[in-house]
Every structure is written in C-alpha cells, then in structure tokens.
Symmetry: C2
Subunit: 503 residues, 2 copies
Amino acid sequence: MSEFDQEYFPHKESQELLRSYKTIWALNHATSLLSWDQETYMPEDGVFERSIALSEIATLIQRLITDKSFLEKIEALEKIEDPTIYERALIRVLRRSLKYYLKVPPEIIAEFSKTASEANVVWRNARKENNFEKFKPYLDKLVSLNIKIADYLGYEKNPYDALLDLYEEGLTADEFKRIVDKLVPGLKKILDKILSDGYFSRPCPLENMSYDVNVMRKVNEKILEIFGYDRRRLRLDVSAHPFTTNMGIRDVRITTRYEGIDFRRTMFSVIHEFGHALYELQIDERLSFTPLASGVSMGIHESQSRFWENIIGRSREFIYAIYDLLADNLDLRGKYDVEEIYRYFNIVRPGLIRVDADEVTYNFHIVLRFELENMMINQEIKTEDLPELWNDYMEKLLGIRPKTYSEGVLQDIHWSSGSIGYFPSYSLGTLIAAHIRDKMSKEIDLADNVRNLRFEPVKKWLREKIHMYGSIYPPRELLKRSLDIEVDPTVFLRYLEEKFLLK
Amino acid sequence: MSEFDQEYFPHKESQELLRSYKTIWALNHATSLLSWDQETYMPEDGVFERSIALSEIATLIQRLITDKSFLEKIEALEKIEDPTIYERALIRVLRRSLKYYLKVPPEIIAEFSKTASEANVVWRNARKENNFEKFKPYLDKLVSLNIKIADYLGYEKNPYDALLDLYEEGLTADEFKRIVDKLVPGLKKILDKILSDGYFSRPCPLENMSYDVNVMRKVNEKILEIFGYDRRRLRLDVSAHPFTTNMGIRDVRITTRYEGIDFRRTMFSVIHEFGHALYELQIDERLSFTPLASGVSMGIHESQSRFWENIIGRSREFIYAIYDLLADNLDLRGKYDVEEIYRYFNIVRPGLIRVDADEVTYNFHIVLRFELENMMINQEIKTEDLPELWNDYMEKLLGIRPKTYSEGVLQDIHWSSGSIGYFPSYSLGTLIAAHIRDKMSKEIDLADNVRNLRFEPVKKWLREKIHMYGSIYPPRELLKRSLDIEVDPTVFLRYLEEKFLLK
C-alpha cells in the first residue's frame, strides 16, 4: 500500500521521495505553529527560547533538504521517463527550495540571517526615532548581501530578477516594468478624476469613530460565518499585525488587531486574511504532506486576499447585504445610511503609508519601491540617497511629500528583514484579483451571489480554478490554464473606472 | 566563547555534546507546543495532520539521539577524568533517555506506539460503553509488550522495577511495597476515625453549587496573582483535562477546566498545576537548552503540585486568607462561613474515582493499582481477572464496590496509553510533599507566611532546595542532599492526623 496518492504519485521514486519529505513537512508544520504562537499567546519572556528553537529547526530543515540521500531521491525521480504532472511539480518545487541552499554558500546564508535579525531590531528603533542614519549601515549590508545572493542564484539580464523569482516564480523586472508603464498613467487619470469629483475622497466621521472591541469581535466572527467559514479548520485570533498561517490543509489560522477606532481597519484585515486562508483550505487533500500542498506564489496568494477584501468586501452589493449587521451592532442606524458606509469603506485619498492605502493609490506605493529596489540592486543609487529619492517619487506619484523618515523610507518591515523583491507581488495580486472578477463574472452571477450572501458558488469557482492546484503549476502557467490570461493592468483599470467613475 | 555555561560545562566535550543536543532541545520545545495547542486552541480537524507531525518529530528525535556521532560525543565526555557534577549529570540523564532506544528493538518500540495509540481510542469507547471485553485484547497486548520491554531494559529482581524506573529513577517494587505496608494500616486508622467522627465526611451543599464560568476564571486568575505568578512566563488556558507544559524555563503553561459546578474542582486543579509550573519556572537558567533543564522525576514533580494543592491550598491559613475573595465573587457571604469553606475543601469520603479522591483516600487508589500492575507484569494474574480483582481490592481498602467497569478498572487513561509503573509516583509525591512541609516549617514560619499570603519565602525555599537543580541529581540523592530524608510514610500520616484528627 502506498503512503501517498497512488494516482498522483505512481512511481516508487516519488513515494520514497515523499516519505523522506514528510519529516521536513512536519518541521514546517511545527515552525508555523511556533511562529503563530509567538504572535498570539506566547508569554513575553518566551521569545528568547522561541527564537533559538526556530533557528535550530530552520538549520535542521536546511540540513535535511540538502542531505545527500534526499538529493539522490530527487535525482532518481528526475530519471524516470513517464512522470505525472504531480511528479514533475514535485521536482520543480523541491528544486526551487534547494536552489537557494545549493547555490548560495552557507556562510553567506548565515551572514544574511544574522544581519537581517539584527537589522530588524535596529529598524524598529530607527523608525521610532525617525533616524535613517542608524538603519543605513544595516541596509547597506543587506543590499550588498542581496546583490551577492542574486549573483550566486544567477540571472539572464538583471540581478533583481533573481530576487523577484524568490517570491514570484518567473517574474522579471522587465515584465513588471511593462506592467507599471501601462498601470501608472491609467491610475493617475482615475485618481485625478476621483479627487476632482471629491465624492470618494472627502472625509467621513466614521474614520474617527471608536468602537467596543468585544462588539467588533462579534462582527468579525459574524462576517466569517457569512462567508461560511469552517470552525473545525479555521480560527481567528488577535496579534499586533494581522497575518495568516497554515499548519496544513486542515488547520489554518488568521489574526486581526483591534485598535478601537475606524472599524473598517479590523474588518477588512479579517476579510483579507480570510482570502489567504481559503486558498490554503481548498487545496486538494490528496496533496497532503507534500511540498505541493500550499499556495504557489506570493502574487497568487495576494490575489486571493485582495479578491475577498476589495472585489467582494468593498463591493456595493456586499455592503448593502451586511448593512443591518453593522448598523445594529455598531449603532449606525439613523446616523449613517448604507451609501455612506459604502463611501467610508471606499475612501480614496493619497496617503504616505502603504498599508493604509486604498485600492486606487496602493499600487503607486509599490511602483515607488520597485523602482528604488531595482536601482539599488543594479547599484545605480546609494542608500544615502534613498530618503530623498523616496520623497521625490512620492511627490511625483501621489503629490505628497513625507516630512519624516518614519512615514517615508523607514515605514516597511521588508528591507529590514532582508526582503528585496517582495513588493511587486502585492501589485500583481491586485491586478490578478481584477482578472478573477472579470473571468468569474462571465461564468457565475457574482454580483447576485454577493447580494444574497451566497458564497458557495464563489468558493467553488476559486477552488476549481485556482485553490485546488496548490503548487502544481507555476503561477504564470496556472493563470494561463485556468483563466486563459496573462497579467494585464487594463482589466484592473477598467474595474476601478467602473467602480469609482461610473458610480 | 562558549555557548553553554563555562563553569558548569568547562570541557570542550560537554560543550560539543550540548551543541548537538540543542537541536533535540528545539524539537522537544516544538513537541511541547504542538501538544499544548492540540488540547487548547487547535481547530478540531487539525488533529489528523497534528498527530502525523508529532509522530514524525518523535521519530526524528529518536534518530538524532541514537545517531552515531551523538553517541560518540557522549562517550568522549564519559572519558574525561575530571567532569563537574553538571557534566556527570549530563551523562546520566542522556544515558537514561538512550537506554530505552538502545536496548529495546525498534520494531518493539514501533509496535508499542502503534498499539498504544489504537488502544487509547478503543479505551475511550469501552469506558463510555462500560465494556471491558472490548478493551481487554489491547490491554493484553500492552501488558505483554511491557513485559518484553522490561526484559530488554533489564532488572535485578522484578521486571516491574524496570518499568517503575522509567517514571521514577531508581524506584523498586520492594521499596514501594515497604512504603505501602506502613502507609495502608496508618491510613485505615485515620480514615476510620474521620468517618466515625463525621465532621469531614458529611455532605456540603457547595458540592452541588453551580458557578458562573467567567467569575470563576477571575477567581482562578486572582489566586495565581496571590501566589505572585509572572505573566511574562506563565499562562492559564482551558482544556478538557488540566495539565502543565513547559516549553522552556521561560515559558510554562497550565490549564484547567470549568464544569460549572463544585468550584473547588477547578480551583484546586489550578493550584495543583501551578505547583508543577513553579518547579519548571524556578530551574537554574544556566541549565537552559540542556537536558538538565526540567524536573527530575514524576514523583518529585507530583510532590510540588501536591504541596501547593494540599499543604498550602487546603490549609486553614490559606482558606481564611482568601475567604473574602471567594465570598465576594461567589456570593457565599452570610451563607457559608469560612470554617464551612474549609470543611468543603477538605471533605474526606471513600469514592470510586481516583482523580476525585481526597488527601486521605487518594493513596488507597494507588496501592490498588500498584498491586495489580505488579502481579500483571509478574504474570501472576490474567487480564480477564482484573475487573473482579479491582473490585475486591476496592472493597478491601475503601469498603465500597464499583458497580460498573467505567467506575472501576476502566477509569484511568494510563494503561490504555501503555503506561504501567506510573501510578506509584503519585503516592510518592504526596508523601514527599509532607516531608517538605515538615522540613520547611523548621526553617521558615510556613503557617504565618500562608496566613499573610506571603509566598516569596516559600517559593525561595523550594527554589533553593529543589527547583533550581532541575535534573542534576537523581530523585533519591536530591531528597537526601536537600532535605536529608528518605521517603517515610510516617511524616505524611502525622500530617493527616494533625489536620483531620486534632482539628
């Protein structure tokens, strides 16, 4: 009897490879729980032992995955003549994980990990103190380490491509540049019209309304119930920054935070994370315990969270359908009509902080980071010029200029963790979400389903087109096969026009 | 620079051994969290993936600890001429963990683990259905596997000794028999007097009083605060059965359950688990990440939980001191005076269920199990005779006879998990707790400290005599060095007499 699905993995070579991988799967499972617990329930002083446990286990995973006998099992599978698509995917995904460890020398990996963990602490203080100089030497080191890593990983044209590929398989700077070149002028036109019209940009008192945390907890739970979430497989907790973790296909957890003011913030964080969670929960269970049993890329993952957050959550249909829930619990009735709630959820306004940005301005923040990262990695700019360049771009793109580093170049955690090349996947996600809306609307009556809070057809569609495949197909191939698309910003721009200009 | 304490572990052999052990430490840390989470927050369906993760990690730990290079590091340390007591302890503790894996053949370990996990499921149903026949074949198999394991482990006189040693280092059936022979007649005399007097045995309406779970949560939290618990290192959660887990010296977690009736049950479970937790929390931090950084045996651990639960928690001084807290929150004022609460917390009454037993009758339940286990492992009785033997012993010891298997032979989880030899450590714990009270009272004014809810001196005493040593000394040596005692039931019997007969 085979331990893993006989139809997907018919060869003894894949069965043996998966048998060995199961230990690594278990260590990843444990790592997810250790990280989740660190952000939710761990007593404060536990962090010392926890961080050591996490780093020991990370080293162990690296040791097991690069172990000679494991590599030989991959090679054995590579030699068979008639692999199934699942077996081919197995090789592709494992080779991708291995590439980093096999091509980058261990001393660089160790230096990178040490620098990143120091830099993260320094960055937190630097941001608090608005002190770029303090962070600069660490950023310098992380940039130069990233350049070295890109060299070791190899690339055809642009070292930045090697880094982009770590987060979004196959994405290149050229490709993203082509997207940006179409996206930015379109977005600018739309933003200008929205601002001159004023309807979506003017303030709303709800932005400053405080709420009772317990009431809001109930509202968030209720919204998850409306989406038909399965409590046996998903839970909602509280953490300083919202995130999703998956321990497997049957245990996924999301978090939110309660700031006590501006309730859309917690509500949309829940809907956003639900989108991420649903992707993991709807993966084909026959892929359990294999490296194919998780979302394929950051971009596809972000398309799922944005689809639920923006396309569904901020739609007029949804807001009309949940108006009673909100009005009753948050004492809005007679004070704010449903159209005002709709406007509140969809306020468009240039701001300095990426994570607070709306659907229209969000991508400008990414474009700015993309341009700066690309130039840094190609050594066209120095980190000392970053703060001013950041501010200049901000002014050029959104017409506003940060007054402090903390609301400018120091705002994101990514660079301090050594992640360069991550941001573009956020934009890809927003564009793909619009493609999904477009395709889905041709096959099921999306608006009508949302209006009636019928989410089964939506979830089924997402499962069959995207979720179930896990990491079987690379992102580009998945989009081609399932949606017959290549990412094109026109669809996203058309969606924004419909929503904000033809309101 | 050495990674581990230079004074405790001055030789490069111990430093290298500990470096390798750190990975195993991290996996134990992860295992603790995975198990804790399974009982507290894990979504229901997660159990499938969780149990596989746990078993993969258990196998991996076994692989790492029996790895040739790890064994060589132990041997290298064994060869040095001037080990410190810490280095000697390291060898002792690791050799103990290894003994099982090196002496018992892997196929027996695998069969045992498989049988136990099946038996556990069968036992749950058998207990529910009061069906001993259903459980019997599994018990047969587990008993015969335990006999085989005892043979592989080796013993001088009695195969049961090899099993006892797994839970209480160095304990033998002969030694425990000597304790029992003194304990039982003494206990019988005390129990008879209590019952004929009637004061401590008559019913109290509080046994049937229901409570509000949220109120009781607050009371439990408050009691932990009175003990001066450090929220940065300890947390209280809810699970079906109360337990303590330690992720390290800086992260310990206890649980309780809320049945909504008979509030002393949840309250004393919290105090009991606090005793376990404090032991782990007060271990010398210089032992961090080593195999010495946890409680040394089940018996010593149980002495800590029983000390807090019985000696402190059920003392007249403590109950007088917390009367206001209980009376105010549970609406007892004017209905129950403090003496009646004291009586309620100390009701003595023969009952069928071990986990519900009071201080006086508890040890009878253990004696019964000890006698039966000893005979089973020596093949003097057959499992088919167990239910009747159980009932006969019960009648002989406590004068009551179970009417069902569920309240007799099927009541405990231990045998169904394959644990034979565990029970005696519970009794040892209660006897050692009385020794501790005896010794402590000679050095600090225990009663006065408790009366004034001053627990720092008590915790300091426990830290300096017991806790800080972790697993440095075997239990018998620890008791000799720190308390200058050998376990003697007389001290426990004297304590009971003072408490229940001279009231």
